[in-house]
Structures are given as C-alpha cells and as structure tokens.
C-alpha cells in the first residue's frame, strides 16, 4: 500500500527493509548512528541529515560509525564486499570523493575485470549531490559524470521518493559496485511510496511527461525544473516530453534515441558543470546515432564552467532552472534548417 513519504524516508525504508531481509547488509559511514563514544544518545544523528536515523536502534552493530577517514572506511566497505558482506557505505557529500577515489575507481571498480572474473563486489556508496543549499564549492557539486566514466561502477541518480526506494533496493541486491547519488534538495520531497519492498531495474529511463515537440533529457532535481518548464511551455503551444534518466551507468540509450527520433528536437539538462558531463555525453550519443532525425541543433542547459558559488544571487545564477530550460526549448522549437526555411518560402 502506498503512503506519502519523503525522499529521505524512502531511502531509510529501503535500508531498513534490506537490512531486515539480509543479515549481510551493513551500514558504514560518518555518524550513520551518530553518537559513538559520547555521553549522549548512541543514535544521535543517523547521518548528517538524519537519513539513517533509527536504524542503529533496530540493527545495533550493523550500523557502524567511522572516524573521518574516507579512504579507510570506503576501502573497508569495498574489501568487506569482496569478503562476503553487502555494505552500504555513506560518503557524506560526493565532493569528498577526492579523499577516497582510489579505493573506488582503482580498487572496487576494477577487481572483477583485473582478477579474471573471480571478484564480486556488492557495495553501495550512497552520497549527496547538488547545489541550492548555499553550501558553496566543496559541498554542492554533482559529480556523477566522473563516476559514470569508470567501467565497473554503476551510477544511480533518482529524482523522486518512489524511485529512490526502488532503485536503492535494487542497488543493494546488485552484485556490482553501485554509486547512489542523492540530491540534497530532494530529501524533503514527498511522494507515493509503496510500503512493500520493490525494485526498479537499472538502465531504464522514465518518460515522466509526454509531448510531441521537444524532448528534454535530464536527471535528479532537474527533472522537476524540466517538468515546470514544460508546463509553462504548454501554455505557449509547445509540448515537451521529459525523460528522467534514473541511472547514468547503465544508460538507457534506447529510450533517449527513440524519443529524440520522434521529436527531432532535444534539450539536455544537467545541473553539473558542462565539460565532459552527462550533457555532453548524451549530446554525443544523439549526434552519433540520431543525427538524421534532428530538426535543430542539440541544446545543453548546464551550470557554467565554474565552481559552485556561495552567495545566493550567484548560486541562483549558476544553477539551471525552469526559465533557462524554457528559453532553450523555445530556441530549438523555433529553429528552422535551411531546407525547412526554403520550403516555407516556396
């Protein structure tokens, strides 16, 4: 039965249900219980934003606080996965990948290949992404493209509570290393979430809004900005289709190409920086495989090539939003090729 849960509650419920189902699932991370060694409550924080709150009380020493030593505890989660556990490790903000990336991309991601297929590394690394919190340059990035680049990793970027639960359960049951990106601006978002356990397969994008004129391909919080833009544009007579990627590795190339082939016009929206990003990756995919169907150049709406600024006026400028998306959609919608222009004159 579905109830209204927040994105944060949906993640907590997914962890709870999987820990209840499978004793090899353990949680590791900074303050995931949150009171280790102090005189107060043991279950004080449940992670820095309270996502794992309550799980220590239920599962005890399977919820393991760590020192602030990301290399050691992310590496330990990976090592434990190869040794038979199914750890879910929290890397508080994805910006902290700089202090543990070796363990993720040189160790965990490559074991199976390097070791001739003998390694299985069922680890999930949960980590927060996203700007809009006035958290500035080192706590606001969206670095999924860096992880997506690495063979051996799977990358999940949910946009709503229903997907967050189903994709996280899928991630925990998956036998490969999965990076699970949680947009911090979505934690409070509410939505229908079934009480029972369910999974959503990786590599299946969702068409969250139908429309015949322009395809918007996007992910995470930007899905909601895209839908907002699409609603505004509908009043202007432009109907947008919005594709929520849900996972960037594997990437549902088929859905992207099918949608773009049908509309011929596409805007790719990505909150991250523009160079070597999901936006450029998807633009390249379309250019390679659907060039003939395009009626207008591919447009990308992304952050600029800058760090995330602190001051609200600057951060709001930095971040893509419905207005910027709508402007890009109008542009591709109005665009006419030379042949189209000639045809309309004759």
């Amino acid at each position: 039965m579905a109830r209204i849960l927040t994105f944060q509650q949906a993640i907590n419920e997914a962890l709870d249900q999987e820990m209840g189902r499978d004793p090899s699932v353990i949680l590791i991370g900074e303050d995931v219980a949150g009171g280790q060694g102090g005189d107060g409550e043991m279950d004080a924080w449940g992670g820095v934003l309270g996502v794992t709150k309550g799980l220590y009380g239920k599962y005890g020493d399977r919820v393991m606080d760590t020192p602030i030593s990301e290399s050691a505890f992310v590496g330990a989660a990976i090592g434990a996965a190869t040794a038979g556990l199914r750890p879910v490790v929290e890397l508080m903000f994805n910006d902290f990948l700089g202090v543990c990336f070796d363990q993720i991309f040189n160790q965990g991601a490559k074991f199976r290949y390097m070791f001739g297929g003998k390694a299985t590394t069922p680890v999930v690394i949960r980590t927060m992404i996203g700007s809009g919190f006035r958290a500035a340059a080192q706590h606001s990035q969206s670095l999924y493209s860096i992880f997506t680049h690495i063979p051996g990793l799977k990358c999940v970027v949910p946009s709503n509570p229903y997907d967050a639960k189903g994709l996280l359960i899928e991630a925990i049951r998956d036998d490969d290393p999965v990076i699970f990106f949680e947009h911090k601006k979505l934690y409070a978002m509410e939505g229908d979430v079934p009480e029972e356990s369910y999974t959503i397969p990786f590599g299946e994008a969702e068409i969250v809004r139908e429309g015949d004129d322009v395809t918007i391909v996007t992910l995470a919080e930007m899905v909601h900005e895209a839908v907002k833009a699409a609603d505004q544009l509908s009043a202007e007579g432009i109907e947008c289709e919005v594709v929520d990627l849900r996972t960037t590795s594997p990437l549902d190339e088929e859905t992207i190409l099918e949608c773009v082939t049908a509309t011929g016009r596409v805007v790719v929206v990505d909150e991250a920086n523009p160079r070597c990003s999901m936006a450029t990756d998807i633009a390249a995919l379309i250019a390679q495989h659907a060039f003939g169907a395009l009626k207008a150049p591919i447009r990308m709406v992304t952050a600029p090539h800058t760090p995330v600024p602190f001051s609200d006026i600057l951060e709001d400028l930095y971040k893509p939003n419905a207005e910027k998306i709508a402007a890009a959609v109008r542009e591709v919608s109005e665009y006419q090729t030379w042949t189209q222009t000639t045809a309309s004159r004759s």
């Binding site: 020192p67 290399s71 330990a76 090592g79 040794a83 199976r112 290949y113 390097m114 070791f115 297929g117």
Partner: protein, 322 residues
Amino acid sequence: MSLSKAELLDVYRVMKTIREFEERVHDEFAAGEIPGFVHLYAGEEASAAGICQHLTRDDFIASTHRGHGHCIAKGVDVFGMMAELFGRSSGVCRGKGGSMHIADLDLGMMGANGIVGGGPPLICGAALACKRAGKGNVAIAFVGDGGSNQGTTFESMNLAKIWNLPAIFVIEDNGYAEATSSKWSIGASSNAERARGFGLPAARVDGHDFFAVHKAAGEAISRARSGGGPTLLDCKLDRYYGHFEGDAQTYRGTDETKKLRIDKDCLKIFAERATASEELQQDELDAIDAEVVALIAEAIVQAKAAPKPMEDELLSDVYVSY
C-alpha cells in the same frame, strides 16, 4: 611454536618456489618474453612464508606491487601465476591482471596492487567480514616501506584499532621505495613506533629470518584470532632486484646486492638453522631444490605454449551484469 618436520619442509619449499619463480621471471623478462611492469620479491621470501605459514584459505591477504611471493605463500598455483605474467588465458586472472594485479580470491589473496597503499583499507573490510563471521579468521595487509608513508595505511591502522579488527599490517621495509631510501623517507624511527602511536602493538622483526617472522606473526595472528585486535609487524629485509625489472639501481651502493646474496639470504639462513639443529637434512633440501627448479621450468614452458585470451575477453567481466 615449534614446527614439525613436514612443516619445515613445506616452508622451505615455499621459499624456494618464490626464489626460483622470481629468478626465472627475471631471466624471461630480460629475454623480452614477459610484457609490462614486473617487480620481483627475491630476497624477501622469509616474510611471505613466515606470515602465511599461519594462514588458512579462509584468511585474507592483500599485497603490494611486489606480489608474487605473497601469492605463492598463500597457495596460488604457480602455473596459473606464470601464465598470468605471460598474459595467457590460462592465467590465474585470465591474462587480464598481469604481475601488478595478480590475485586469487578463491584463496583469500586479494591482489597485488598497482596503487601504493591500496591494500590496507581493503583488508580492514575483509577483517570486518571475518569478525562478523566469528570464525576466528584474520586479514593481513602487506605494505612496503613506500606504502607505509601513505595516508591509507595510517587511516587503516586507526580504523582497525577503533573497530578492533582481526587485522595485521606487515611492513616489508626493503630499504627503498622505488629509488628512495626508507632511511630518508620514514620520518619516525620506525614503523613500529608509528603503529604504537596509533595504539597498536608492534614488533620489529629481522625479515631475513624466517623463524623470527614466524614467531612474531604467530603472536600477532593468534591475538587477532582471539579478538585482541590489530598488530603491526615491521619487517626489515632486502630485495635482490630493482624496484622494477630494468631498473639499473644506480641509487644502491656498489656491490650492495652482491653482498646481500652472500650475507642476507633468507633461504640459506633457514637451511643452515634447520640442518644445524638436525631437523632437516641437506639432501632433503636438495631434493626440494631439484623439484622446484623443474616445476618452474615446466610452468614457463606451459605458459609460453598457452593461448592468449580470445578477443571477446576484452569486454567480459567488467560487471556481474549490466
């Protein structure tokens, strides 16, 4: 902790197998038969043998760039290893890992590691799995003097301490991290001193002496098995070859390696001790020598004759499913 005759013979066989494997790999590399980067363990055999003599296949080890010796001591098949070094499909990693990533997870050998300091966090995880399983198994990180300066090693010692893990850190200080002397690069008086700073019991061990390593390892491992937490062993030893094959070793003193082979040969030291005590006879050791020489020669013949991986291996085993 005295060893039976059969155990002593087994130890000698392991050390001799490592030595012969490495000497022959050196020759084959020089002849241009082995591709890539190769880092040889010859000279350090007493460390791998002294530690791994205590382990079962349910215990874990993680290794360094210089991982062949650890593999052999943990029981990895030398035919599969040699084929791996030659990049053959019959290799223990099907020709996809090579010398720097040689591993056999079926035996708890979590890999040589191309990243200096890559292993210690991983064995904290393996040790956590051992602790949760409650069967008294342990996980051991071999770390070079180079890796002993990595933050991952420091972080892992601390994590192993506060989680009270059945983990052992074995620093194999062979005098040089690449070309840089450990006397210069390690600021503390020793890695044992560093470990004590993290709250770990630690011992300095003569890594040329199998019996010294075996004794210190036995204490550390039985402590770990019974819930007493992590230990660091600081093994001072020497490598006979360069950092990698092809290293002209101009950073070493004149005749340094030549003298080491005379004064610091762990096989010779072991054989002299075991024969002087009359626990083993020289002819028994000679017989092992002959068997091992033939074994490794055959491993090379078979590796050279084995097919290279099929083209479809390029794309296999990136994921379990994708």
